[in-house]
Symmetry: C2
Subunit: 86 residues, 2 copies
Amino acid sequence: MAGKAKHRVKVTINGEEYFIKGSMPPEHIKMIADYVDQKMSKLAEMNPYLSTSKVAVLAALNITDELFKITQEYEEFLKLLEEVKD
Amino acid sequence: MAGKAKHRVKVTINGEEYFIKGSMPPEHIKMIADYVDQKMSKLAEMNPYLSTSKVAVLAALNITDELFKITQEYEEFLKLLEEVKD
């Protein structure tokens, strides 16, 4: 395992600055922040009267939907492989 | 394809009520909302001085990290299968 150096990365999400601490490489933290920023910006554009907090919750719901979908697809694929193997 | 009936589901996330509209089954919408609620509650507990908006952004970052990890794992697995096939 590589060392667990902590990085502190400044990112901008939906116009606000955040300092994110983590042991991941700074580029990875930035990539994650960019993804959330894009989701939130799109949602804020589509719903201009929503508060930042609601936009962030909507973004989290959206991303969770994607997470559940890919997890289910992956699990079904693994199950299929198991059946082919038997 | 099944009909695209829109459901309107009331969910509670981090103590606040939201009405979520979507063509997904209500149970699926609730499952997604529960996931975000749990993430936000844990983060709010760990960081009692953070605003709801920051807690929601942190939750979105956290879930994106999970999404990226599973996507990468799935892609690497598919690549490995391709190599075995050749």
